[in-house]
Amino acid sequence: MSHLSPTPSVDPVADRTMVLNMGPQHPSTHGVLRLLLEIDGENVVRIMPDIGYLHTGIEKTGEAKFYQQAVVLTDRIDYLCPLTNNLCYVLAVEKLLGLDIPPRAQWVRVLLNELTRIASHLVWLGTHALDLGAMSVFLYCFREREDILRLFEAVSGQRMMTSYFRIGGLSMDVPLGFFSRVKHFIDRFPQRVDEYEDLLTGNAIWRKRTQGVACISAEDALALGATGPTLRASGVDWDLRRDMPYSSYEKFQFDVPVGTGGDVYTRYLLRVQELRESAKIVQQALAGMPEGRVKADAPKVVLPDREKMKTQMEALIYHFKIVTEGFRVPPGEVYQAIESPRGEMGYYVVSDGGPKPYRMHVRGASFANLQALPKLCEGRLIADVVAAIGSIDIVLGDVDR
């Protein structure tokens, strides 16, 4: 299999092909991806991704932090969907602990995750279109993304590195008037999606650049570990939110768009459709938001309320113990996977019974999806490489960790 032998085979005597270096500073590699392209004229013969420029050793750092402290690290992995990372990690630790999360916390998590999905897809759509020469879409997408980031700031105090979820629930309940702000945004959002579609879906240039480009079959996508819209565009009907629900996703009605072509255009259509489906989920979450606590009833794990900490001896002791020593997690191992905007994001957390994760491994969806890139591009033009990279929606923080 050619995509398994990534060394460019340059034969200096034959001199038929040349190696072109693309990145790591190339704007359309969406970060610091470096590609070695072996080209024959304009045609790509082989392609070899070279990654690691953004490797920050987050897994190693995580082993040196208390369980709660590691939440902050997870924001920085896939930095376009920090809340999705937070959720996946806290779900894994909560599974290790065997905690029950109150319904309100679960629903707020779903709501924020779908907003994150929208924000992430908007960055993808804007930059993908920008790469292919449609500049104005970027401005429209970032207009709406800005609204979502303001919502994140309202709940967590941070626009991007939110760290809003806690092991056992949320850091605090959402602020007053938050749901009406979300409602105001999400009621208008479907018309915004219509605007993006007006610019692209029927656009003859857009179609020429994307239709029939960088195709991948369902078998290849599965074998290469692709997930998310990249897999669904090839016709595999698989979405963890529906098929292996977590955080009460089973209570929401939504469609999972599935395509058949497996080309760039299909992946574009699916993600745009997912924007609309996410908006539907947010509407349902707003309509059925349960009342009640947002933290689990587990005094040894969850920090007590500020008021109690100041008035009750026991709460003060728990507070002191959790902050200074962390909390102990029963020994065991857990793999928790959730559907991130890019596909299956998985956290494998091993506990040895101590207050720090013995091992925290992250399965990045982009990391696996990137392996499909050579299959998508080989035999096609260099210009299509740009379209292919955009269409698998990689985030280099997620690839390199």
Binding site: M1, H3, L4, S5, P6, T7, I51, G52, H55, G57, E59, K60, T61, E63, A64, K95, L96, G98, D100, L222, A223, L224, G225, V236, W238, D243, M244, G332, E333, V334, Y335, A337, E344, G346, Y348, V350, Y358, R359, H361, R363, F367, A368, L370, Q371, D400, R401
Partner: protein, 165 residues
Amino acid sequence: MPWPEAVTNLEELKARPALKTLLAKIPQAVNAARLDRDELTIEVGRSWLREACAVLRDDPEARFNFMSDLTCVDLYPAEPRFEVIYHLLSIPNKQRVRLKVRLAGDDASVDSITSVWPAANFFEREVFDLFGVRFAGHPYLRRLLLPEDWQGHPLRKDYPVEGYR
């Protein structure tokens, strides 16, 4: 709600899909099994790993057609030191299983499964890079994330968090 006690008795677990397939086709490959927190872990002998993966993928009942994740845990200073972990997913059956291979510290090598799932390519290179575990038969076993001339394997437990100064 707290989890029930982990089940390690093979007799109780033998009806579980992945284990049933392995016990039927290659019983000698299974060293142990454990059901903990609703997740099934099967410990497989090192020489049987690649075949176990192929069996689980091709069996018409089990149909573990997707490799989600591959990683490693360093148990230093205990021996056998390394546990290589494979998370397989059956999309048709909506099931997961975890395969585990134990490797001694002075002979940390296991067969590559890139011939079963090409997806394992990057994952195995990552484990090689960060743990120093070798994968026999891998088409391109070079460092993936760290520079080529990096000394040591950072995710090993005897590697300091701040690195060597």
